[in-house]
């Protein structure tokens, strides 16, 4: 049962065309998620991690034309090339979404109850009455106190944490098999972040869903994920089980990220360790490795050819020939 991945993405490339420019935010990335598993996708803002998950499911803002290539299989069904009407049926039903900013993700002039119940009506063919009951159940499930009263309220009457719980309830309402959470804790207060993350983890395990957790926070990854994909400038830099990658990062970028986390043994007032330089702006794809300008291990060959993602040991894949084969071989 756990053999066939629920979601398997291979060699996915996304091009976005706007009136101003054409960009390639995702360039040949592959990964997969099984039922009951949590995959974390980590990267700086602009590394393409959100587009990678939203674009194949047709969730792009207006005014942008999306071009997809590669393969995205959800429960064995190819999504790329599927007409929008078919993809629309999958959204909410097979895949639930959680967004970064709960302040703006909810419709300000509609009651919370309606916004949740509408999902049950749409995907579970419930009567409005049954859907209201289901909404109540969901609101309880995501741990909102005084649930009956909350259903009658409007989004602006709730705090950020409560709103994110509502967004989670909406995502769960259609009983999806896959949950895609885009930076679900970034916009929240620090104290609330841990609660929301715990809740997500809890419902994922309880409902035995697959989850893709998009984040830039290594702490979130350590606590929640089974596997990890590290993205840099539209490409996957490193991929593998969380416990291996976090303990023994190989790609210079992953190492830099983990090294940047402040440690307990750091003396008070110690200098903040960051990565030197800035991530490249999204544009046309790079010829070589996009990390070369910031990399302390770079050799001239790095900027010539694109580094392939190679299996190192176990299930870890690294896209760095210098690490994989040593400086000379690269």
């Amino acid at each position: 049962m756990r053999n066939e991945p629920l979601l398997s993405v291979s060699n996915l490339t996304v091009n976005l065309l706007t009136a101003k420019s054409a960009v390639r935010p995702v360039d040949g990335v592959s990964y997969s998620v099984r039922q009951g598993e949590c995959l974390a996708i980590v990267g700086e803002s602009g590394s393409g991690k959100t587009v990678m998950n939203f674009a194949p499911l047709g969730l792009m803002p207006t005014g942008v034309t999306t071009m997809l290539s590669g393969s995205v299989k959800l429960e064995g069904r190819e999504l790329i090339g599927l007409p929008e009407a078919e993809i629309q049926k999958l959204r909410g039903k097979s895949v639930g979404f959680i967004f970064q900013d709960p302040m703006s993700a909810l419709n300000p002039v509609r009651r919370i109850g309606r916004q949740i119940a509408e999902m049950a009506e749409l995907h579970l063919n419930m009567t409005p009455k049954a859907a209201e009951a289901r909404a109540l159940e969901l609101v309880k499930l995501v741990g909102i106190s005084d649930p009956a009263a909350r259903l009658r309220q409007y989004p602006h009457e709730l705090s950020g944490g409560l709103r994110q719980r509502v967004v989670i309830a909406i995502a769960l309402a259609g009983e999806p098999k896959l949950l895609i959470a885009d930076e679900p804790t970034t916009a929240l207060d620090v104290t609330v972040q841990a609660q929301i993350l715990r809740l997500l983890k809890d419902v994922q395990k309880r409902l035995n869903m697959a989850m893709v957790l998009i984040t830039h926070d290594m702490g979130v990854v350590a606590g929640a994920a089974d596997n990890i994909v590290v993205m840099y400038a539209a490409r996957a830099a490193e991929r593998g089980p969380v416990d291996t990658v976090l303990v023994n990062p190989r790609h210079p970028y992953t190492r830099g990220l983990i090294n940047a986390i402040p440690r307990r043994e750091d003396p008070v007032g110690a200098e903040f360790r960051g990565l030197p330089g800035l991530p490249p702006a999204l544009a046309a794809p790079f010829k070589g490795c996009a990390f070369t300008p910031r990399c302390d291990m770079a050799v001239p060959a790095c900027s010539l050819a694109r580094p392939p993602l190679e299996q190192v040991d176990g299930n870890v894949f690294v896209a760095c020939p210098v690490v994989n084969h040593g400086k000379v071989a690269a």
């Binding site: 499911l57 047709g58 969730l59 803002p61 207006t62 005014g63 629309q88 049926k89 999958l90 959204r91 909410g92 039903k93 895949v95 639930g96 979404f97 967004f99 900013d101 703006s104 993700a105 909810l106 419709n107 300000p108 002039v109 509609r110 509408e118 999902m119 749409l122 995907h123 409007y154 602006h156 009457e157 967004v167 909406i170 995502a171 259609g174």
Partner: protein
Amino acid sequence: MFHFISKRLKHSLVLLFLASLVCFTLVVSAPGNVAVLIAELRGAVATPGYVDQVAEEIGLHKPLLMRYVDWLGDAVQGDFGISYRTGQAVNADLSKRILVTGMLIAGGGVIATLISLILGFLGAFWPYRLPDRASRGLALIGASTPTFFVGALMIYAFSVSFRIFPSFGFEGPESWVLPWLTVAVLPAAVLSRVVRVGLEDAMSSPFVLTAKSKGLGRTAILLREALPNITPIFINALGTQVGLMTATAIIVEPLFAWQGLGDYFLAGVRFRDFMVVQACLLLFLSFFIVVNLVVDLAVMLTDPRIRRQWS
């Protein structure tokens, strides 16, 4: 909620007071001696003695403040004085005229709302496609065509070329159609743009991405998510347009020979009948204030965010 209404009512009362002050000052500051005008109206020879007598009679000798209080007291009871031109009471058939103008604005308002919603939705359903371009083109033309020309075109098309509707009069529904359509063109054009832009704005807000992620289709998103969001904006714009329709009525009523308030006001302006101008102006201003009050209350009922500020 109650707090809001009482506060808003007080605000309206202050505005009404200011409006009355404006109307009063306008006539007091008008050039020419009113008493002479009235004396001549009565057909008497305007001897200084008689003029003085008239001035005494209508209270011109009293201090300004007293005159204002007297005038306001009368106006509140519906007595707007005597027309300088006809010598008859200004309020003679004022209620009938108010009814006529009310009919015009109400009919025009309903038609404008319907047309603007249809045009605006056409545009929002197929943005930047043919229906959108057509509806925006219509809106542009509608907003740019002078009302008197719209009226002339209506008469030319519907009562000269095809004798479908009468070109003037106020007898029965058939005679209402052309004035209603004429008065509705400008607000329909402006409001359709409000609907179109409002829907597009709403459709590009983040919660629409959530709605999409729920698996809702475009139609459902427009109707369930975007429409409730533009209701307050639409009500606001409709209020402004209803106010503006009083100005349109001034053009449309004479054109179709409707004896409404606009027609009365225009006649007052033409013949410099200050008392008529003053009465109509006070009624117009009061109407704007009431419309604004109703709009604010309606917006509060349709927008939970504003409702909450006051509860």
